[in-house]
């Protein structure tokens, strides 16, 4: 909600600057950003009472002298003769109607009404709707204006329980479905209560006679309607969070005052229906409890003075909660009010000592498995559980998926890992080892949970001269697991590539197994890997294509081998992503070492052309050939 600094400041005697008010608002828990002289407020859902100038001023009264007494029309009003019936009094326990007739529609707005449109750069609509919108901003109470000439028969408020077409005053046609609280006229819906009015009875630029409806609707009846029908509604936002059940007549009298500042009122009358009383909520004064909750020493006098600044007044041992603060009900609520006044940051800390608990190592087995896999070059991944159609009958269907193509919960992890593998293969990865540990759910006579480990591997065993030529296959993985669990057989599977969108032919091996089925022998595994001690700073990765260049050297002077390695493995270039030794062979007979280096070229900025790669490649070659006793066969 956008609120102009000047609209607040004009009611504050101390005339604080925008930064001072901003600090005060943060202390009170009203998060916001400042855009020029406008506060862009974000209120917590329990503080519907703050969704207005007056609401914020009531809170700011903690810090400043605030004048909240905007002028209202105070004289006697005749009773409005309006044929109205309320068939859902539990949803709308209070409602008032004001009928006004003016002689001429004003062309120019004055005072606070003008400031509202000017300072917030808002578009005007029509005179009565503009006042209604301004009043909602000033008081937090939405009102709805009907062109009085269109209200020509009995007006009925009721809960509609069947489908009905409705055209909003924003020219949007919607079909009301299921339960909706509405106002109807001649059996037609003319207002979706608390959300948006209808086109057929809306005011226009020519409207001179208006009926203003000002009601209290139960939040439960309004919640979700604006989202359901995709209608941006300030009124719904306020009713959903709860308006003051005791302000309707005062707001209508303020309405009259604002109209009278702009036009001559020819006639006016009012009718108020109250079906339920809202007695003030009272909470016993218990300063000791407040001190316990907050962990501070506070005396009663100070405590009560803090609350009185927020309109929470004490009388005969009870705190009376004003009607607009429906969120304050308990001692904990009062403690929060006191804490806001003191400032959360000003409450001193008190050392906490939690009794030590011994049972904290439930994940030992899982962790051993994770580090065993890390030691063998596997990367841990986490996948979303949402998947497309599955033939598995037990798969759980999401009633309201974010993506209709992913409306089931996965029943296995392997399929996610296959997607991960293909994703990385498309990025020219030729050695891929991944694993995921996750709960997997299914439904068959109730929801069933299984905690599973799934692994997938394909391509080269590793990027080093020993493993470069070895391809991952079922046997490789079986041997890997046999080393740590010689007595357990695992059901490794080979995934056919026939149905996969890929031309790569490397064998894909997977394993999916219940964590609970692992024998406790794994607990004796001595891992080499460790969790990182530091938090590495991420360097953005490139999705651009990469190129590979291999250079194979012949070294006759063995002593130069290390010099060559140091040069090449530490070679720096913006376009080199990876360097490793893929081949090493010492030929005793020929007294020659053959060593091959693989360079992966990739830019983060643009796809590399051959000239850019050649430039770096040639530099590598030239620098390496400066080392005596080294040659590149075939060059």
């Amino acid at each position: 909600m956008k609120i102009a600094y000047s609209h607040l400041a004009q009611h504050i005697e101390e005339n604080p600057c925008i930064e001072q008010i901003s600090d005060s608002l943060f202390q009170l828990g009203h998060e916001h950003e400042i855009d020029g002289s406008i506060f862009d407020m974000e209120f917590t859902p329990n503080r519907g009472d703050c969704l207005s100038i007056n609401g914020l001023l009531r809170d700011l009264a903690v810090f400043y002298k605030v004048d909240l007494n905007q002028e209202v029309f105070t004289e006697h009003l005749n009773e409005l003769q309006l044929d109205f019936e309320n068939l859902s009094k539990n949803i709308c326990p209070k409602i008032s109607f004001l009928k006004l007739e003016i002689d001429k529609v004003p062309e120019i707005y004055k005072g606070s009404l003008n400031d509202y449109f000017e300072d917030l750069s808002l578009n005007k609509n029509n005179f009565f709707t503009d006042i209604s919108n301004y009043l909602s901003y000033e008081t937090g109470q939405p009102t709805h204006c009907y062109d009085a000439n269109t209200i020509n028969s009995k007006l009925i408020f009721h809960e509609l329980k069947k489908n009905k077409e409705f055209e909003t005053l924003l020219d949007k046609k919607i079909t009301l479905k299921k339960k909706n609280s509405v106002f109807s006229l001649n059996n037609e819906v003319i207002n979706l209560a608390g959300v948006v009015g209808g086109k057929s009875t809306s005011c226009s630029a020519n409207t001179k006679t208006v009926i203003i409806e000002c009601a209290f609707f139960k939040p439960e009846a309004i919640i979700g309607k604006s989202v359901k029908y995709d209608i941006q509604s300030d009124a719904a936002h306020k009713f959903e969070r709860g308006v003051d059940p005791d302000c309707q007549d005062r707001v209508l009298r303020r309405f009259i005052k604002l109209v009278s500042e702009h036009a001559n009122i020819k006639d006016m009358s009012i009718i108020s229906h109250k079906y339920k009383d809202y007695p003030a909520h009272q909470i016993p004064v218990n300063v000791k409890k407040i001190g316990q909750i907050l962990g501070i020493n506070i005396n009663e006098k100070v405590y009560l003075s803090y609350l009185s600044k927020l309109g929470l007044v004490s009388n005969k041992g009870f705190i009376t909660v004003p009607s607009y603060r429906s969120d304050v009900k308990t001692q904990n609520d009062l403690a929060e009010e006191v804490a806001r006044v003191i400032g959360y940051d000003n409450i001193p800390t008190s050392e906490i000592s939690i009794p030590k608990n011994k049972n904290t190592s439930h994940k030992d087995l899982e962790d051993k498995l994770r580090f065993f896999l890390l030691d063998n070059g596997f990367y841990e991944v986490i996948n979303s559980p949402f998947v497309g159609f599955t033939a598995v009958e037990e798969a759980i269907k999401v009633d309201n998926p974010l993506d209709s193509n992913r409306e089931y919960l996965r029943t296995n992890i392997t399929n996610s890992l296959i997607e991960n593998l293909l994703f990385n293969e498309r990025r020219q990865k030729d050695s891929i080892k991944l694993f995921e540990i996750s709960d997997v759910y299914s439904s068959s006579n109730g929801i069933k949970k299984k905690r599973k480990l799934s692994i997938i591997a394909s391509g080269r065993v590793g990027e080093n001269y020993k493993d470069f030529s070895k391809k991952i296959n079922k046997k490789y993985l079986e041997m890997l697991f046999q080393e740590i669990l010689p007595n357990k057989a695992f059901d490794f599977k080979i995934i056919s590539r026939e149905l996969l969108d890929t031309k790569i032919k490397n064998e894909i091996v997977t394993l999916e197994v219940d964590i609970n089925s692992f024998p406790s022998d794994i607990l004796f595994y001595k891992e080499a890997s460790q969790a990182p001690k530091n938090f590495a700073q991420y360097s953005p990765i490139s999705d651009l294509p990469s190129s590979i260049k291999d250079i194979s050297y012949s070294i006759k002077d063995y002593s130069k081998t290390k010099e060559l390695q140091d040069l090449l493995l530490n070679y720096k270039s913006d376009i080199i992503k990876n360097i490793y030794i893929f081949d090493y062979f010492k030929n005793e007979k020929k007294e020659e070492i053959k060593i091959g280096f693989r360079f992966t070229f990739q830019s983060k900025k643009a796809t590399l052309n051959s000239a850019e790669i050649e430039l770096v490649y040639n530099d590598i070659v030239n620098k390496s050939l400066n080392i005596s006793g080294i040659s590149i066969p075939g060059l």
Binding site: T330, I382, L402
Partner: protein
């Protein structure tokens, strides 16, 4: 030719894998909290409305319960938990105070953009004992934040609102760029929640807190787009060894 029998082959570099950065951060926080005395408890990701909302004082009318915020499954008979708090409810129903639980794991909400995902991770904690106060909660939060971001970090407590805590607070840290960043939510357990778990709220009080792991991982690792964590890109994952 010189004799080079002692020439060793190049060092054999075998690639080690890496923990997923989200799991690493989650584990680090859980380890820290267990060192404070918290016990780890686990619970299901598919929950009932009763445990996910009702027991936590989240009213039927609360917007979070709407279909546009919560994933429901099996004809609305269950839902994907929107926070890890129901695990604590289950813990409180099983054990009597004093108790100190933490739970961590996946949670689900209907969001999808550069800073929100339909699946993300939380770690939440609860401590119930006699005379647990807001001042003690602040002490605990300082300890957590200092452990995560160092003692030089500046933090602030802001009043906030959660149906299950009262008073409630959100905690921000000041970034190097001078911007306040929300790190966690916390508060004193609403007595209604204690009563729902058959705990005498006149005798006992509690504190609770919750951290979004992705937010902390993004800050700690300098990752700008939350979606990067879940692409399973080896170029990304290999940076977190």
């Amino acid at each position: 030719m010189p004799d080079h029998k002692d020439i060793l082959p190049p060092k054999l570099v075998r690639d080690r894998g890496s923990l997923h950065p989200i799991n690493h951060i989650k584990d680090s926080i859980m380890e820290l909290l267990t060192s404070f005395g918290f016990e780890i408890v686990d619970g299901p990701e598919i929950e009932t409305e009763e445990f996910n909302f009702d027991m936590l004082n989240i009213k039927k009318s609360h917007p979070a319960r709407q279909m546009h915020d919560t994933f429901y499954v099996e004809n609305k008979s269950n839902l994907l938990r929107t926070h890890t708090s129901p695990v604590q409810i289950r813990g409180m129903l099983e054990k009597k105070p004093p108790l100190a639980f933490i739970s961590g794991g996946k949670v689900y909400r209907k969001d999808d953009d550069a800073t929100h995902l339909p699946m993300f991770h939380q770690v939440e904690g609860i401590y119930v004992d006699e005379n647990v106060s807001f001042a003690q909660l602040k002490d605990l939060i300082y300890k957590i934040i200092y452990s995560l971001f160092g003692e030089e970090v500046e933090l602030r407590f802001r009043p906030s609102y959660f149906p299950f805590t009262e008073p409630s607070a959100e905690v921000d840290i000041l970034s190097k760029e001078g911007k306040w960043l929300e790190i966690l939510g916390c508060g004193l357990v609403n007595p209604v929640v204690l009563k729902n778990c058959n705990i005498n709220s006149d005798k006992y009080s509690g504190l609770a807190f919750g951290l979004g792991i992705e937010r902390i991982a993004m800050l700690k690792h300098g990752v700008m787009d939350i979606r990067e964590f879940y692409k399973s890109n080896l170029d990304f994952l290999s940076q977190f060894k």
